[in-house]
Amino acid sequence: MALGVIYTGEPEAAIKDFVKLLMKHKDIQGAVIPVKMEREGSYAFVFTKSPEVVDKSSPIAPVMPVQGARVLSKLTKRKPLTKPAVAVLKPCEVRAARELSKINQVCMESFITVSFDCPGVYPTKSFLKNADALEEEFKKGLKGLSVSGVRPLCESCTYFTGEFADFEVQFAGINEVRIIARSQRAEAILKGLGKAEEVEERDKKAIEAVLEARKKAKEALKTEFAEKVSTPEKLLSVLSSCINCHNCRSVCPICFCRECFFDSDSLKTPPHLYLERASRKGGLRFMPDTLLFHLGRMNHMSLSCVSCGTCEDACPNMVPVSRLFALVSERTRAIFDYVPGIDDRPSPFLEYREEELEEYEMPYYEARS
């Protein structure tokens, strides 16, 4: 049993009602929620104080052109909000926001997060080509969490519930919509609204089949993709259509630096050095430093990558970057046994143990002789 509220009806309608309920709390101001843009037909986050806008919103949008954690980061970069706002986010957006809060890029106190059973999102480009039909299909598959044609990383995502938000919305595999308080803050809010009922939590069995299918897809993706980048030749051919536009970095929630090394003067080479590099190698690809950019980014973000797939969505040239990053990230995170956005520990960059990783050190001279 847990504190929560039960709704009947469609998940999206329940979430909207719940958000409007939360907005009535004296300590809450407004909401951040996806809304369908009338003419363009895509979706965007809107920060609003108006219940009418919430009525028109789409809490479970079929696409994710902007990663929600970036929105929270933008809103609280300079300082916290005067009072918290409700933020309706997909599970990977919650994880990214939690990860960013560890490095002071999001103020989590400024948001009451609400997240839900996530069927995944379509790649934005395929959605825009066929929006009406896909919108239909998405609605149909929502309750069963079975939508086909979603991002490759969504198909294989095993953290698809809202359990890491303040409020978790459960609807898959059950008849009603159960909204459960997952933090003390959330419980206090429900009590303040006089809505704190004891409700039964969903039996894990109800989503077991979905979890199994996702795990399988994850294994398949891993083996299939690992093969595609198993040698330098293959890796370079996977990256061959990259135009070094840095879109994948700009949309990544984890890449927060104001000044990126890859845009810095350090990589602005004078002509004679280009010539020197070219003579050494026999020729120099332009734009140069493409592999450096990707390998370098992996060093900076792979420990915190939440496998949201936003990078690949933003790539103009179909480079499978999110699959590449997810693969590498899984391996680097294993060194520290770290799961970004879920672990309560600080980021592995901010911690160390005196005795560790000896296998990466050269043995001492003394020890060798």
Partner: protein, 142 residues
């Protein structure tokens, strides 16, 4: 480049307080060590952004050495612990993509141990000589 005539090019990032001092001492003491290493002085081993290591490997180096004070002795207390995590991460990334993590080495060389510095450079140079030239440095399309 034939295996025989191959002289490895090694970039060494040495921390100012320990390993660079040891290298300096090795020079003053006229200790012999392979001339293959090109030394870059950094204030602390933790200053080495993994991007530096990768840039060197993609652009001409056959091996990269990162050396700092012994654990517990970093001038900034904990810099070398962070450096160790970063180097481990870099090696894991290279390994995941079939890119020869053996070309990166992390070592601790205290300021007073010039012979150790000479030994480390010798051993690493030999190791890289056996590995052969770094294929990445001669690729056009990187």
């Amino acid at each position: 480049m034939s295996e025989k005539g191959f002289e490895p090019k090694i970039v060494g990032f040495l921390c100012y307080w320990c390993s660079y001092t040891a290298a300096d001492l090795a020079g003053i003491s006229r200790l012999k060590y392979p001339p293959n290493i090109r030394i870059i002085r950094v204030m602390c081993s933790s200053r080495v952004d993994p991007v530096f290591i990768i840039k060197a490997l993609l652009d001409g180096a056959d091996g990269v050495l990162v050396a700092g004070c012994k654990p517990g002795d970093c001038h900034y207390q904990k810099g070398n612990y962070y450096a160790r995590r970063k180097v481990a991460l870099t090696k894991k990334i290279l390994e995941s993509l079939g890119l020869e993590p053996e070309r990166v080495m992390l070592s601790w060389v205290p300021a007073s141990e010039a012979p150790k510095f000479a030994e480390v450079v010798k051993e690493f140079t030999e190791r890289i000589r056996k590995l052969g030239p770094n294929p990445m440095k001669e690729r056009v399309f990187v």
